[in-house]
Symmetry: C2
Subunit: 302 residues, 2 copies
């Protein structure tokens, strides 16, 4: 069922490309026009069948679009919004996919004018460490969470339109308060990326770096995978979610210092306590992600 | 080809059990006798076909054994060695699987007496976050590295015997200096475990822990998997490799502080530099783990 006539996709990378593929797969969108700064990338996206057409003009892309998705790095949101604002249709819904929301809301409030109530801040909690449309795939959002952070002035119709679009990708769509989103994501995503970057950078500068990487096992590969993420994108995330990220880094510091102190003081009880608490929390998190086992046939239904 | 008549396996968990399975699979060992403190675990290991027999007496286990493998947590090495020392055959090879080596060497030097030259400190760089013989599998060491850290007084025959045993599991066997092993492993394994434990413990104590874990994505699951590892085992690793671990934690601290400072100071260039350096190092590490692509048929052989 076609529900979007023309979707303007500003930024056709991993996330934007996967959204376009997912919508095409269920024929939810008649026409997806990609826009960006790199002609070669856009050509490739069209060749791959991800988008139906492309343009280097953001203004042209959004013209007559009933859905506008901003899927560019956070640092580019404001200039992009500024360029499209005058060309947005009066009934178009606008959303974004940025990993931090307060900064995008600020950008939108400063630039979108009359269109601001039809802007629904969004964030699909999905991705891989690989960037670019060539790594996009239609299943990326299946069973993943998309968080929308609408504001008091956001139109219900816009929220419903954006929710409907994401629902078609197989994602579960939830809403959260802007500040709360930014705190939660600072803790679960932005902080781990900082730790992975810091760890790999730290090891890469050691004298015996070749042996260090040679003797690293599978656990290390999993742990550091996110350090292969796009430096530009993560620079923007750090800047956009600066306050929340610095706050949670401070809390983390004190926890790591607690472990260090326990080791220094040979405090076995403290060390076992911390590790056991963490293991229990991690095991509970893992079980919550796994589907519940089917009820045993031997268990009588009361 | 049977090369070991009787293998005494002290500690039948994930690592010990997987070694026994791997040796049985290629019929490298006639008789594997497991020993430990928990009768139920040993019974289960025998039922699973992992070991051929079991005993609660370490002395009985090592009697007439030509290979003795110590696969218990690092903190138990010295008491176990003390108990077996008088019962070791004069031609038996002895090895261990501990994640830190200096402490085990100290334990062995203090307890094994005349048998010390036939003790070959070892460390298979393999494992999962799951403990226990029920999670053991014969393929665990395939294409993984086993590091031996022999000493100047270690007998060549013992090194060859232990190298031969590990070779039969499909592992690549390398040697390293004791102190160097402990430094390298502190960086690539022990430090990442501390970061994962600290992160999960930190998040688990936050007010909105339920939402935090609910909105965590796949990257977080990978990043924190190692926080599900055995608290007792990791307590012992921290204590055994205290100095090397504290040293590398200090270096890590300064790198994380560098990222924090760059965010605080809005230092975009510094942040991009760090992330790019780390991404390049991680990408290079990943390529080195992946098999080299087959040479193109179009490339003429010179």
């Amino acid at each position: 069922m076609v529900s979007i006539r023309k979707l303007a996709l500003i930024g056709v990378g991993l996330i934007g490309g996967s959204l376009a593929r997912a919508l095409h797969r269920v024929r939810a969108c008649r026409n997806i026009v990609g826009a960006g700064r790199n002609e070669a990338h856009l050509r490739k996206a069209q060749e791959l069948g991800v988008i139906d057409a492309w343009t280097l003009s953001f203004a042209e892309a959004v013209k007559d679009a009933d859905m506008i998705v901003l899927a560019t790095p956070l640092g580019t949101m404001r200039p992009v919004m500024r360029q499209i604002a005058r060309h947005i249709s009066p009934d178009a819904f606008i959303t974004d996919v940025g990993s931090a929301k307060a900064s995008v809301v600020e950008d939108a409030r400063a630039t979108l004018g009359q269109h601001f109530p039809r802007f629904v801040p969004g964030h699909p909690i999905a991705g891989t460490e690989k960037s670019g449309v060539e790594h996009s795939f239609a299943e990326l959002f299946e069973k993943r969470v998309v968080i929308l952070t609408p504001l008091p002035e956001t139109a219900i119709s816009a929220i419903e339109g954006v929710r409907d679009m994401w629902g078609k990708t197989g994602a579960e769509v939830l809403t959260l308060d802007v500040a709360h989103h930014d705190q939660v994501l600072a803790a679960t995503s932005h902080l781990p990326h900082m730790l992975a970057y810091a760890l790999v950078d730290c090891l890469a500068q050691m004298q015996d770096r070749d042996e260090i990487f040679r003797f690293a096992a599978g656990g290390f590969a999993d742990f550091t995978r996110i350090a292969s993420s796009s430096p530009d994108m993560w620079h923007d995330v750090c800047m956009a979610n600066r306050e929340a990220l610095l706050a949670v880094m401070k809390v983390f510091d004190s926890h790591l210092a607690g472990i260090q102190a326990a080791i220094e003081n040979n405090d076995s009880a403290a060390l076992r306590n911390i590790f056991t608490r963490a293991k229990n929390a991690r095991d509970a998190f893992q079980s919550s992600r796994e589907p519940a086992p089917a009820p045993s046939r031997r268990t009588p239904v009361q």
